[in-house]
Amino acid sequence: MALLNIAEPGQSPLPHQTKRAIGIDLGTTNSLVAAMQAGRAAILLDEQGVAMLPSVVNYTDAQMPLVGSGALALAVRHPADTLMSVKRFMGRGNRDAAGDAQRSHYELAEDEEGLVRFNTSSGERSPIEASADILRVLHQRALATLGSDIDGAVITVPAYFDEPQRQATKDAATLAGLRVLRLMNEPTAAAVAYGLDAAEHGVIAVYDLGGGTFDISILRLHKGVFEVLATGGDTALGGDDFDAALADWALRDIGSPSLAPGQYRQLQAAARAAKELLSNEAAVDLDLSGVLPSGGTIRVTREVFENLVQPLIKRTLVACRRCMRDAELDASIDNIIMVGGSTRVPLVREAVADFFQRPPLQGIDPDQVVALGAAIQADILVGNRPEGDLLLLDVIPLSLGIETMGGLVEKIVPRNTTIPVSRAQEFTTYKDGQTALAVHIVQGEREMVNDCRSLAHFELRGIPSMVAGAARIKVIFQVDADGLLNVSACEETTGSQANITVKPSFGLTDDQITTMLQASFSHAGGDKIARQLAEQRLAGWQLLEGLKSALTADGETLLSAEDRAAITAPMTELQALLEGQDADAIRTLTEHLGRQSETFANLRMDKSIREALAGVSLDTLDDEVLQ
């Protein structure tokens, strides 16, 4: 195990020990994993040399979930056990997923939490568990190809994913045993894959039409800084809908016979095959074997297909127009990047070129571009490029707000605000002696609470008893770089911290995750204690590594000899502990060392600010010369 290769105390490890990081595109229909190999981002292949893993899991056998093309082959025979397009159900409630589930012929389990769970013949499964099973296979593939432990992963999500959908994705990765460095927006990843060598300025539009989701993002590139100006889209619109439109048309054409779930699956697969062929041909035969007792085919022309998908493409263009307006551009779009298999449809390419009045960029496979960009970002985040040649500034795709009187929404963080962001909101009590306050957080653009997505109900308790209106409770909403929300609160007149009980409207509680994690360990037959030790060692090792390089850079200038010793002494101690087996001792000392080095971290941040500003004047000159 790589993390046991620790240098002798006092001796620094190899100067540029490369860490292993992977980028994962967890797609609706297909998933990919990529990593840096010989200085370039490359897609990792399975044993058969195949890049794409179908995002399909079959649960007929309780002991051995089957993932990928093997599962896909069982889709017709075991429709309810074979989960496809689970990304559409991530972070969603039973009620809003019912329509999609019916179309896919899944059986939903009743769940008082409102979370989607599928009934399979080997028990209930959540979309998170199914996604974790897909991620586990990709993790294994990376381990086999790279031949060492993986230090971290960047997982991509549609830019338009809301908070519960993001949280569900992160939970799935945690379940699969991955350390998530960042959730990265798919269009941003694509822009990174295209734009690394570009020290240029320019505005980029990324049009991403995947299997189940549509995203549009507009970014400004400026000397290695990618600034997302606006993003928009539709989390329930993609190539699947193209297939369904074609399948429904075929069904009408043969007199709308009622089909068994498996037969409809087969028809959808046939429609997909026909769609793919139509990208290069004027007319194809759609295979009806297994759908009609007599089998046979029907002729589909490209014109028929284009008429069917035209309204869907129009919907994407409406989102593009809105996004352009949100971006408040003072210049035109310089480049268009196409992402997702559905952008292979000629009518999509034509419509997009026509809309932006510019031909889209070619060059990187639209199916692979997201995973490649994620691998590049993972390599940076894991610390392999200390000079930091690239920075992404992303935005929150949907407004965050709270419920006010009469079921109205008051916006706290508007959509397209750059993240991370922190906003404070003051509340007061309306009754004498009131000690608790309920806050309801929602996400969405509509005015009424019922039309927005409910994220969580918070209860602030322990407010000091005062007359009505006297308490000033400050609630701070913080959205981190993953687009995930954290809330904290305090009563300002007394300074007392109010307790917050969070009840997520959807998604898992920490307890549920722990239970699932434990279940998955015993399921995999892994040793939980060994696992804990490995995790503690990794945490300790990372802190040590970080501190070593920090001390080398700034130890002499920022710290007195005494302060330095207060850090280096526990470091030596921790280094020795890491060779042993005592997970608890490692955890305790890692926490102690973490606290001990907080002041040093503060000093380093301050220094960064001073240096950033000192370095500015020259840069500004450059800019002025350029203009």
Binding site: R325, L391, I419, A481, G615, T620
Partner: protein
């Protein structure tokens, strides 16, 4: 130069002079420079404490940038630094002539849908609003620079009216786009 200290003044954070007219290029360059150093991505493999700190700093820089980048929030912020709160600004009296003109513009906006070419009419209307906005920017800049704070606040409150009108115009535009696409 630590976090609470920086919170006192966004202009200091970007090393800019405290005035209304502002060099957008310089603001952008400094913003990106600061984020390059302090964004959580730079600390993704750092300690949990460093990561939390980076989120706080980075969020503050984003907030400061958003406040200074656009004219109205920048004007309100300058007044706040001068001791005039947002409530004080909202409480400013607005002259009748301005209100009449506002009602006139709003009426035009509401009747837009009935015109033959609503898109063109909307663009004319937006151009008119733009002229008013620019005049008020100049008025604010003048009043603020000579220390006439009530006059500056009055320009601000008028800008708030126009901002609200622009928001409504955007909604109308969005409806027009949806109908035609």
């Amino acid at each position: 130069m630590s976090l609470p200290e920086l919170q006192n003044n966004y202009f200091q954070l970007f090393d800019l002079t405290e005035k209304f007219a502002l060099d957008q290029t310089q603001l952008g360059v400094r913003y990106r420079q600061l984020q390059k150093e302090l964004h959580p991505d730079r600390y993704a493999s750092g300690s949990a404490y460093e990561q939390r700190l980076a989120v706080q700093y980075s969020a503050l820089i984003n907030e400061a940038y958003a406040t200074l980048r656009k004219a109205l929030p920048r004007a309100l912020y300058l007044l706040e630094l001068a001791g005039i709160s947002r409530e004080d600004v909202s409480g400013q009296k607005v002259d009748g002539g301005f209100l009449m003109a506002q009602m006139d513009l709003r009426e035009k906006l509401m009747l837009l849908d009935e015109l033959v070419d609503p898109q063109a009419a909307l663009e004319d209307l937006l151009a008119d609003i733009d002229v008013d906005v620019n005049q008020l920017h100049e008025e604010f800049s003048r009043a603020y620079s000579v220390g006439e704070l009530p006059a500056a606040a009055s320009a601000c409150v008028k800008l708030q009216y126009l901002e609200k009108l622009l928001l409504e115009a955007e909604q109308v535009e969005s409806r027009l786009i949806d109908n035609q696409t």
